[in-house]
Every structure is written in structure tokens, then in C-alpha cells.
């Protein structure tokens, strides 16, 4: 164990803008260390525990957890993947799955936006604000310049959204680097500032309010040339657009960036040990700015996918209701900040979000409004239990010998248990 000895004399105030409150020193290491040791089991167990406890909430309010979860699963469209789903069921499932994947794309990006920060020892809770400024930039670019060639227009809108998100998050990175302001607080404040900025821009009398209906607080529509092409399903019924491939490509880029690039190497060094990084010549403050800007770029891109892919306009109450970005935290933590893990976690939460949506969940079984809050609860529990790896691994290690014993064998050797690297 090499956890920080609390009894040791207090270290001198750290340089390079270390804030008062930051992720605990071993956390970043633990997230990756555990990945090495625990493999997929710990995250899976986390999900099981979270769903189980969510089920307790459902049961406590007089509903049947099993039928609720079944209905949510049906609403997610995941049964399309089963070969025995056929006929009209399969058609419905296909539509539902398109919806799920529609959410999965941005969720991958939002998860990566949190994960990359985590690897550098930063906690980016500002995905929401970065997503919002990204979608503002995209809706502005996408609804202007009608007549521009389609693919240029789409790419331009996405680039602008990316830049907007990068700038927004870069503020937090710069504040951390220069003044040591804690990024948890600054990113959350920037979320609210982005919300009110958006409400102002698209609100009544706002500069980006639509031209046609002066009494509706909504933006102009994205022109057809700037919309992302749909490749699965009906373009008029929110079919699946190519944004999912953009997100998957971003996941590949993320992997390369993190594991194979000098910038990613610097980010990881800073995340594990900022003092050693500084000592070896890495500019820690600049790394914070770059990492946050990269995260913001990913979140801003996520905003543009939704705007250019299926929303096509933004109303002020959309902005206030945007909670998707917060799911990025759960996605990143559950996916252990790895590219593949993030994609899978994004699929799970995408399914959960759509399975509980008004459109997909059968209200006869469970009210969607309730179910959406259930999603939030499960999301919180996932974050909670991922943080408590000690607990999850304790459960795992407790279960393991018992299972063996039931199988007739002796308790597993000590080497079989997962150790927390702390």
C-alpha cells in the first residue's frame, strides 16, 4: 500500500495550480490499476448492484421491478440483436434500437470528454455546458449560409461546435493552470452560464431566435444541406444518422491520443503524478489547458451531432432540460476511461435513456416520468459504486470462494482475489 500517509508532515503548497479540492491522489491510479487486476468483473458487478438498488426503489413505490426492467429493455430495442426477434416486433425493435444508438453516439463522446480529463487527474463535470455551447455553435452555423455545399456545411458546423466546446472547457483548464481554481466548481458554474447564455440567445427577443415565429423561443432550423445523412431507418422518423461513426472514430482517436501520442503520455503522467511530471520537464499547467480543451472539443462535437442529426433546432426549454452530458460521467467511470469500455458503457446508458423515454416506455407498465428519474438514480449509484471499488471488490471476493465452495472445491487461493491498487 502506498497511499498517502496522512500522518506525514503536510507537503508544501503544490505548484502549477493545484486547487484546494482535487481528486484524491490515488484515484486515477486506482481506476486504471483496477482495470489491470479486476478486468470486466468489477464494472459488471457495479452495474448489477446499481440496477438491483434501483429495483428496490421501484419496488418500494409499489411497482414490479422485473416487469419495469423488462419494459425498459423492450423500449431500448436491444432485442433486435436477438435472432429470434422477428416480424413486427423486429421492426419496432429496429426503430427503438435506432433511437438508442442515436443517443449512444453523443454519449460516447461525452464519456470520452470526462474520461480524458480523469486520466489527467481532472474532473470535468462541465460536459453539459460544453455540449450546450457546441450545439449553439452548430445550430448557428447549420441554420446560416443556406446553399453551401452539403458536406462542407456539415463539417464546418461540426468544427465550429468543436471549437466552441474546446474554448468553453479551456476556460476551466486555464483557470486551474493559472490560479488553481478547482475545475469541479468552475465547470459547473460554466454549465449554468452556458444554460443562461443559450436561453438568452434563443429566447424571446434574443439574437438567435427564429425569424418566423417571434413568440416562440426557439432557434432557426438547420438547413437541409447541413443535416447529417441517415443510413438506417426513416430520415423523417429520426432514423440513425452517421454521427455514430463520428463517435466511434473519436473513440479510436482517443485511444491513439491517450496511449500512443506524446500529448497523451504527458496527460497520463500529470494525472498519475503532477509533481514528477513537472520535475521531468512536462508543463503541467499547459497540459491542464490542453486536456480540458480536448474534452470540451469532444463534448461540443456531441452537441453538434444531436443538433445536426435529429434535433435540427434548439428551444430554450431543451437547453434547460439537457441532462445527457452528466451521463458522460457515469459512462466514463463505468468504462474505466478506456475507449472500448466507454463505448460499451455508452451503449448501456443509451439503452437505459431510450428505454425510459416517453416515446419508448409503455406507460401501462411504468410511467416514463418516473423511469427517467430512475435512470438518474441508477446513474448516481453507478458513479457511487465505481468510486467505492473497495466495496465492489469486497463483494466480489466474498462471492468468489463461496461459489467455489458450492462447486465442491476449497476456497480459492489468495492470489485469485482482486487487490485494489491504491
Amino acid at each position: 500500500m502506498s497511499s498517502v500517509r496522512p500522518g506525514a508532515p503536510a507537503p508544501p503548497p503544490p505548484p502549477d495550480g493545484q486547487p484546494e479540492i482535487a481528486l484524491s491522489p490515488g484515484f486515477v491510479a486506482r481506476m486504471t490499476g483496477q482495470m489491470r487486476a479486476g478486468g470486466w468483473i468489477a464494472p459488471l458487478l457495479t452495474v448489477v448492484v446499481a440496477f438491483f438498488m434501483g429495483g428496490l426503489v421501484v419496488a418500494a413505490t409499489g411497482h414490479n421491478p422485473l416487469s419495469t426492467y423488462k419494459a425498459i429493455f423492450d423500449g431500448s430495442g436491444l432485442q433486435w440483436l436477438f435472432p429470434w426477434t422477428s416480424g413486427p416486433d423486429r421492426d419496432t425493435a429496429a426503430i427503438n434500437l435506432q433511437q438508442t444508438l442515436l443517443t449512444t453516439g453523443p454519449l460516447i463522446l461525452l464519456g470520452l470528454a470526462v474520461g480524458y480529463a480523469f486520466r489527467a487527474g481532472l474532473f470535468n463535470i462541465g460536459g453539459q455546458g460544453q455540449y450546450i455551447v457546441g450545439s449553439i455553435a452548430a445550430v448557428w452555423a447549420g441554420s446560416s449560409w443556406a446553399g453551401m455545399p452539403g458536406w462542407i456545411h456539415v463539417i464546418l458546423a461540426m468544427v465550429l461546435a468543436t471549437a466552441a466546446g474546446a474554448t468553453w472547457a479551456g476556460i476551466s483548464g486555464a483557470l486551474r493552470a493559472i490560479t488553481g481554481a478547482n475545475e469541479v466548481i468552475t465547470t459547473i458554474m460554466l454549465n449554468w452560464i452556458a444554460i443562461w447564455l443559450g436561453v438568452y440567445l434563443f429566447g424571446l427577443g434574443g439574437p438567435l431566435q427564429n425569424n418566423a415565429q417571434p413568440d416562440v423561443p426557439i432557434s432557426n432550423d438547420i438547413v437541409h444541406s447541413a443535416r447529417l445523412p441517415v443510413f438506417w431507418g426513416d430520415a423523417d422518423l429520426q432514423g440513425l444518422h452517421i454521427g455514430i461513426f463520428v463517435a466511434l472514430a473519436a473513440a479510436v482517436v482517443y485511444w491513439v491520443l491517450l496511449n500512443r501520442s506524446t500529448k497523451g503520455y504527458e496527460a497520463r503522467a500529470v494525472g498519475f503524478n503532477p509533481e514528477a511530471a513537472r520535475y521531468s520537464g512536462i508543463r503541467v499547467g499547459r497540459t491542464y489547458v490542453l486536456v480540458m480543451a480536448t474534452c470540451g472539443a469532444l463534448a461540443g462535437l456531441a452537441g453538434s451531432l444531436d443538433v445536426l442529426g435529429w434535433q435540427f433546432h434548439i428551444a430554450t426549454n431543451d437547453i434547460q432540460g439537457t441532462q445527457l452530458a452528466f451521463l458522460g460521467i457515469a459512462v466514463a467511470l463505468l468504462g474505466r476511461n478506456t475507449a472500448l469500455g466507454t463505448c460499451l458503457a455508452a451503449l448501456m446508458f443509451g439503452a437505459l435513456v431510450n428505454g425510459t423515454s416517453v416515446r419508448n416506455l409503455d406507460p401501462a407498465v411504468f410511467e416514463p416520468e418516473l423511469a427517467q428519474n430512475l435512470t438518474t438514480v441508477i446513474q448516481g449509484l453507478v458513479v457511487l459504486f465505481v468510486s467505492a471499488d473497495v466495496l465492489i471488490l469486497l463483494i466480489y471476493n466474498k462471492l468468489r470462494p463461496r461459489r467455489r465452495a458450492r462447486g465442491g472445491g476449497a476456497a480459492g487461493p489468495a492470489g485469485d482475489t482482486i487487490e485494489v491498487v491504491a
Binding site: 498517502v4 500517509r5 496522512p6 500522518g7 503536510a10 503548497p13 486547487p19 484546494e20 479540492i21 482535487a22 481528486l23 484524491s24 484515484f27 426503489v57 413505490t61 474532473f123 483557470l175 493559472i178 490560479t179 488553481g180 481554481a181 478547482n182 469541479v184 466548481i185 468552475t186 459547473i188 458554474m189 460554466l190 454549465n191 449554468w192 452560464i193 444554460i195 443562461w196 447564455l197 436561453v199 438568452y200 429566447g203 427577443g205 434574443g206 452528466f326 460521467i329 418516473l370 428519474n373 430512475l374 435512470t375 438518474t376 438514480v377 446513474q379 448516481g380 449509484l381 453507478v382 458513479v383 457511487l384 465505481v386 468510486s387 467505492a388 471499488d389 473497495v390 466495496l391 491504491a422
Partner: protein
């Protein structure tokens, strides 16, 4: 520290972080005061209608700021220059706008009362954060604890028919969430920030779920029992008198809480032990203080205080509950805690400042309805500036956020 360090200390008596009011610091503060005055003189009741005097004052303020910076006091000097700029801009705006607008917006009595109301939930939550962080546990879940307090106070008031019942149930709910925080942060030694974030989601989901389940589309009933107002016959005593003539009981409660928390933390045995656990838990353990027990108690108390803030929001201020109604106030409270340097008096000053910005934001639409929404962002911008500007000078408890593990078994 070695003897060498001591001699260095003796040689540089002003070098310590807690140095007194040097000439440079006086210059800086003077500049800040002049900058504020430049703005104040254009507002009611003075209402100087010409920009000239303000410009003179602002130039003076900036001059003092530059002098302070040259003398080495960069932060206060910068503050003075910023105050000069803000002062002259404010004065420009005030002299340009009609006096009738001005008098509606800047009605000091009403503005002060509103400031106190907006500050109250923040004060409770920030004091909660203070108790928890003084014991060494970072409480990012203040937001969630407030939300629990807000919903369950409304729900409890509805079910029991009295506001007292509402507050009790609200506070218990906040403490329950805090207990979970303590279990994860103290016993399981999880990362306190991540735990807090998770709990904020849990609180958001649970309160939303319960709200939809109990009240659905109708919302909380209109006849929700609410915390009474305290009427004082002070209307004739200037704007302060007007401000305090009718305030909610919990507004007074929050001011009392500032005093009580100060007493508890700095003047009692419990407080000394609490602080020792937050500064050096191992040292506390070696003199027989239960680190885990102290931290549990502190975090649970913190949840109770934050929930009081939430309860005030729902049944003392807005008289209803809506989903996610705390709207980031828990985080503003955290910022106030940092800006107030983990001391009750400083925390109160910071929450009053944030409260004032909210009060002002509510009144500025008088000038421009379209820009009005943008003013809603004012408290958040101010928080951003505060955490960016104040940190570095404030030192948290040494073991804040560090999980404690007993040696051996």
C-alpha cells in the same frame, strides 16, 4: 521546521501569510473602497447625475491599485484596479439610465432583504460544508443534500400539516444522504469528489422520482405549510430597518447558525477535536480521538445544515418544490466556503455577496427584458471570479479530502 527556518522567520517578520495591514495592503483596500464609492455615489439616495466625479474617484482608485502593485501587493492592487473599472462602468450605466428605473432597481431596503433571502440557503449549505471540511471530508454532495432537504421538507410539511414537521423530515433526509456520503468517504475511503457527484445524481433522481410519484403533474399543493415570517416594527429605522422588518424565520436562523457554528468549531472541545481530525487525523488518533466517529458526525451534521438550506428554499421562500430546484446552489456554497477561507464569518460575507448578486439579477430586467435572462447568470459568473481570484490565498484544512486509513488492522 528547522532552526534555520526560524531565523529566516525572524528576519522577515512581514513575510508570513497572516501579516497585518502593511502600507501596500492599505493602499489596495483604499483603492477598492474608492472604486466602489465611484459607483455608489451615482445610485439612490445620492444620485449624482454626472459621470465626472466618479471618473475622478475611479482614476484615484486605479492609481492606488498601481501603487499597491508596485509595492508588491499584487492581488489587492489588482482588486483596486478592477473595482475602479467596475465602478466607472457602473456609474456610466447609472448616470445614463432614468432615475425612475434606478429607484425601482436600487431600493436599498428591498435589495438588502432580497440579498438576505437569497443568501440564506447558501449560508446554511456553506456552513454544512465548513463543518464537514474542517473534519477533512470534502462535501461535493451539498447540492444533493440541499435538494433532499428541499423536497422532503415540502413533502413532510404536506404530510404532517406543519412546517415544523417539514423541516424535521427535510433535515433527516439530508442527514440520511450525508450518512451514505460518510459511509463511502470515510469507511470505504472512496474518492470524496466522485462519491459526492454520485450522490448528487442519486438525490436528483430520488427527489424527482418521489416528486413525480407523489404529486405528478399537479405539483406540490398550493396550501403547503410554510415557515413563518418574523415581523419587526423597524420600518422607520432606515433601509436596514426596512430590510429586516419582515424576514423569514429561517433567514434569522441562518445568521444564528453562523454564530453557533463559529462557537462550535472554534470555542468548544468538540470543535478543537473536529479541526484536529481535519488537519492531521493520525495525530488526532494518537491522542485518542476517534477519527472515523468524528468524521461521521461532521458529515451527518453537514447534511442536516445543507438540508435546512434546501428546506428554506422550498417551504420558506418559493413555497413549492420543483425538480432540481437547487440549481447549483450547493456548488455556489462550496465556492463561498473557499472564498470565506473555511471560517464562518468569511463564509457569511461570501454568501451575502452571492445573495446580493442574485437579488440584483432579479431586479435588473427593469432595464432590458431581453437581456434579463442573461443577468440570471450573474451569480454563477461571480462564483467563477471568486474561486479564480481568491484561491491561492486560502488554505484548506491540511487533510481535507484525504481518506484516512488506520495503520495495521
Amino acid at each position: 521546521m528547522s532552526t534555520a527556518a526560524i531565523t529566516r522567520n525572524l528576519r522577515a517578520p512581514d513575510g508570513g501569510p497572516s501579516s497585518g495591514l502593511t502600507r501596500e495592503r492599505a493602499l489596495g483596500w483604499g483603492g477598492i473602497a474608492l472604486g466602489i464609492l465611484a459607483f455608489l455615489m451615482t445610485l439612490p439616495p445620492f444620485e449624482v447625475r454626472s459621470i465626472g466625479p466618479s471618473v475622478v474617484l475611479a482614476v484615484l482608485a486605479a492609481g492606488l491599485g498601481v501603487a499597491a502593485i508596485v509595492g508588491g501587493e499584487r492581488r489587492l492592487g489588482g482588486g483596486a484596479i478592477a473595482a475602479a473599472i467596475v465602478g466607472v462602468l457602473g456609474a456610466y450605466g447609472a448616470t445614463r439610465s432614468g432615475t425612475s428605473h434606478l429607484e425601482v432597481v436600487v431600493s436599498w431596503g428591498a435589495l438588502t432583504a432580497a440579498m438576505l433571502r437569497y443568501a440564506t440557503p447558501l449560508t446554511f449549505a456553506a456552513l454544512g460544508g465548513l463543518v464537514s471540511e474542517r473534519a477533512g471530508v470534502v462535501n461535493i454532495a451539498l447540492e444533493g443534500m440541499m435538494l433532499m432537504g428541499a423536497f422532503f421538507a415540502a413533502w413532510g410539511a404536506d404530510k404532517t400539516g406543519t412546517w415544523v414537521g417539514g423541516i424535521l423530515i427535510g433535515v433527516l433526509a439530508g442527514m440520511a444522504l450525508a450518512l451514505v456520503h460518510a459511509i463511502f468517504a470515510v469507511s470505504l475511503r472512496s474518492d470524496q469528489i466522485v462519491v459526492g457527484t454520485g450522490l448528487n445524481f442519486v438525490a436528483l433522481g430520488v427527489t424527482g422520482y418521489m416528486y413525480v410519484n407523489s404529486y405528478g403533474a399537479q405539483g406540490t399543493p398550493d396550501n403547503l405549510p410554510s415557515v413563518p415570517e418574523v415581523n419587526l416594527p423597524t420600518d422607520s429605522l432606515g433601509f436596514i430597518g426596512q430590510a429586516i422588518s419582515q424576514l423569514n424565520l429561517l433567514v434569522w436562523g441562518s445568521l444564528l447558525a453562523v454564530v453557533l457554528v463559529w462557537l462550535l468549531v472554534f470555542r468548544t472541545r468538540t470543535g478543537l477535536r473536529l479541526r484536529s481530525v481535519g488537519e492531521n487525523p493520525r495525530a488526532a488518533e494518537t491522542v485518542g480521538i476517534g477519527v472515523y466517529r468524528t468524521r461521521y458526525a461532521a458529515v451527518v451534521a453537514s447534511g442536516g445544515l445543507a438540508a435546512l438550506g434546501g428546506a428554506f428554499l422550498s417551504i420558506g421562500f418559493v413555497h413549492s418544490f420543483s425538480q432540481n430546484m437547487t440549481a447549483g446552489r450547493g456548488f455556489i456554497a462550496l465556492a463561498a466556503l473557499i472564498a470565506g477561507r473555511w471560517r464562518p464569518g468569511g463564509v457569511l460575507a461570501a454568501t451575502l455577496l452571492f445573495g446580493f448578486s442574485s437579488a440584483l439579477a432579479q431586479r435588473l430586467p427593469e432595464f432590458s427584458p431581453s437581456l434579463a435572462t442573461l443577468f440570471q447568470a450573474l451569480p454563477y459568473v461571480l462564483t467563477l471570479i471568486a474561486v479564480a481570484g481568491v484561491v491561492g490565498r486560502s488554505t484548506p484544512p491540511a487533510a481535507d479530502g484525504v481518506p484516512y486509513q488506520r495503520e495495521g488492522n
